[in-house]
Symmetry: C2
């Protein structure tokens, strides 16, 4: 496999030529069309997944059969690394593509061995894990403190820094991702429109009064805008 590709991935930067070579032996690069299953139950806990392009939904089922959205990933994001040191993983998930998608996959065991061999690689993963932890902490705080409209506003504010101002995937999924029902999402958007002059035509977002939105969204939060967290 193309080693230039690996070097463009920050998780794999700075590692030894030997490790690069070993990585290229382990890694599969794959392309999926919209709606395809990328990882199913038995595989997800044994596979590290890195997204080169597109959008991917991670989900599982509760005991009662409803779908639980674990995360939605896009360019440069990844999952599965937690299984490297978790012997008894009770929480599998499935991965499905939401759009045309390009990914790298590696068997967790092989990746783990390389992390024990290559110090730089383990440092890269440590850095990524700590940043993810940081983001998760923020999300926890938001779930506890913000109401539905504030969570959406917060998402929009963070979206503007990385994406064009339009929703990257459908509203139903975004609603579940933000921890609310689609109906609640719909109504909360109206509230944002009334209180903060935010307009939505289809997927496009127009923030007419930025300071109003920031004031509404961030007033319960411990962070100070702009909080440069990943969406």
């Amino acid at each position: 496999m193309n080693t230039a590709l690996f070097q463009s991935v920050s998780l794999f930067s700075g590692i030894s030529p030997d490790s690069l070579h070993a990585l290229s032996q382990l890694t599969k690069q794959q392309v999926f069309k919209k709606g395809e299953v990328i990882l199913d139950f038995p595989h997800s806990s044994k596979t590290f997944l890195y997204v080169l392009k597109g959008w991917i939904k991670l989900f599982k089922e509760s005991a009662e059969g409803e779908e639980i959205i674990v995360d939605v990933l896009t360019n440069t994001q990844h999952c599965g690394e937690t299984f490297a040191f978790n012997e008894n993983p009770t929480d599998y998930y499935e991965a499905q593509s939401l759009s045309e998608t390009e990914v790298l996959t590696l068997p967790i065991e092989g990746l783990k061995k390389l992390m024990f061999t290559d110090h730089a690689l383990s440092i890269n993963f440590l850095q990524a894990a700590l940043q993810k932890q940081h983001t998760l902490n923020m999300n926890m705080e938001h779930m506890a403190i913000q109401n539905a409209a504030q969570r959406i506003g917060c998402y929009i504010l963070r979206l503007r820094r990385t994406q064009a101002s339009q929703l990257p995937y459908d509203k139903t999924l975004l609603a579940l991702r933000l921890g609310m029902r689609p109906e609640t999402f719909s109504r909360a958007l109206h509230k944002l429109h009334e209180e903060c002059e935010v307009q939505l035509e289809g997927d496009a977002i127009h923030i007419l009064n930025m300071s109003k939105l920031i004031n509404y969204v961030c007033k319960h939060c411990s962070k100070i805008y702009p909080c440069n967290e990943a969406a």
Copy 2:
């Protein structure tokens, strides 16, 4: 400092004698009485904190001045490592002891340098970070899916595996830690009593009908009891 102490800490196990020595130079061991401030704002983002004994509350303030509980730590738990790779930390917190407490503290910068020097140390922290991530993912799922009574029941179920069956700190704090108001906590306990035969006298917990409780708590969850997560 006593190197035997370090070797008993799994985060520091397996590292080189040189690293051990450097660690012992960096580390301060401290004792605090109940209610004392262990870390304040400017220090928390520059300090790694490891709990040897006791209970510690991590908290911050929202823009509107209310207290936000970040976490509650006890024996073998730690915090601050996320600041090692976060250049621009907007989220400080304060740490306060809830009981007589014994801790180790290290400057983050020094710890970070050691992680670049000692491969085993970085692996240990990677492992800890990935496990924490796992726990945070679970907590997120619970916040989204479980109601107040289920979250308390889940907490009690996980508590039983590590602790005697009594609440380790006061109900007000536990309520906030589980993402609800103290009033809601109080009422949710009554619900657990009625629906699942759980009794509380003061801080003591009696589960009279385990399977009833498990069935009530875990029905929306994606995990299968017993899910051996840290409390």
